[in-house]
Symmetry: C2
Subunit: 252 residues, 2 copies
């Protein structure tokens, strides 16, 4: 039995952003496990079983993958972006820790990918070019008060901030509160990037000052990046450029 | 004249972590510009001029690349990791903003890569699986007081934290102060990862509780990741696993 489990990142959408390491793992796999739209990105072939499941069943999906690997299968769990950033890697280790002792002997690898904030940042310029943080705005998995606390501290630290999962049909109101809070503490001129479906045919980028940002500018497929107080916005170029300089003066 | 400039991320070292998009840009380039060890990763070929320069001359290197593109050359600026994270993309936009008006018409793209924290996190498990931040510990480009302020706020926000450039020969003492500060605010049991030269033949990983961390565990090639209060450390596996669960309870 030479089963293994690879937890792989498919990047933001464009196949040119999938690493050769991930492509090689998929070529050797007997089973691919993941959320329906991510599994749909893997080409079917003889000898490969695709296990697609719905959203919000991450622990069950993780247990299935671990169990298949324990049976000697070569399993790839697919995430979009990077599997270690608000994705399946943590779910697999949660399942591993809670599961049978035998799972601890498995050969498990995490294969990194281009996470959404790096793809969005690249398209807009370099808004994450200085210290930054990444916050998941979904309150499915943490209390809302903790999200607000982190937002305030991130602004106080003057990080640029990448927001994952800003808005969904099930949570239409949280992002409006986030924008209100940010406007209150950052003022109306701070630039904010809305980067939708980056690297896909539906890609759309928009940079606006915070005072003109509205909740409808984000949906489930949008990555939102708020600049720090130092972030600069260059216009008069082919596309607007948002970047955060590498240095901060002693007065900052 | 069909010059262009691509600012590309070569990932942490392993060629299997270079995206096909970056490989394609390098295949079309007439000029590659970058820091000596990164340019050394690009295979020489007829028709390709390599422009390798020393560290700490980022703005001059950026200006050279912009000037070559303005002359109609096809230029790739190479960074390790991701060019938008503590790397060359911000330097290019700084040079662009300060440079001649003609540069604003150039075709400039940023091609994302696997940044060091994602590679290190993948090797260790998923320590960045929940909200996190990234801080550059070099005080070449910002005052030390700002680094300390950000460390304290990051701990207060209970982010996992990735530290870039923790220690160099020119700055041997700063990281010792960082560890003292973290020990004071996080206590001795918080796990900290030292991931050196990830994905290269010299790769070495070490996870220790903060109370046993010493400055010598990091050097210029080390990525350091401090867990949040929620980060878990699984032992009894083939390799120790560090991961941060996706959820935080209402009491946290």
């Amino acid at each position: 039995m030479s089963g293994w489990l690879a937890i792989a990142g498919l990047g933001p959408g464009d196949e040119a952003l999938v690493t050769p390491e991930v492509t090689a793992a998929l070529a050797e796999a007997t089973d691919v496990v993941g959320y329906i739209p991510y599994v749909a990105r893997v080409a079917p072939r003889a000898g490969l079983t695709l296990h697609a499941s719905d959203n919000r069943v991450e622990l069950g999906r993780a247990a299935l993958a671990l169990d298949l690997a324990a049976q000697g299968r070569r399993v790839v769990v697919v995430s979009s972006g990077d599997p270690g950033v608000f994705a399946m890697a943590a779910a697999v280790f949660e399942a591993l820790e809670a599961g049978p002792e035998a799972w601890r002997g498995l050969d498990i690898r995490v294969l990194p990918g281009i996470t959404a904030m790096l793809a969005a940042s690249a398209r807009a310029g370099a808004p994450l070019g200085h210290d930054f943080c990444a916050i998941n705005l979904s309150d499915n998995l943490k209390p809302w008060a903790l999200i607000e606390k982190r937002l305030r501290l991130a602004v106080e630290a003057d990080f640029a901030t990448a927001f994952y999962n800003p808005r969904s049909k099930a949570r239409p109101h949280g992002f409006a509160r986030v924008l209100e809070l940010l406007l209150e503490v950052c003022g109306p001129d701070r630039p904010i990037l809305f980067a939708r479906a980056v690297s896909t045919p539906e890609e759309a980028l928009r940079i606006v000052p915070l005072g003109r940002a509205t909740p409808e500018m984000a949906d489930m497929r949008t990555m939102v990046i708020l600049g720090s107080s130092q972030t600069r916005w260059i216009e008069g170029t082919a596309r607007p450029i948002l970047y955060t300089p590498r240095s901060v003066g002693a007065g900052a």
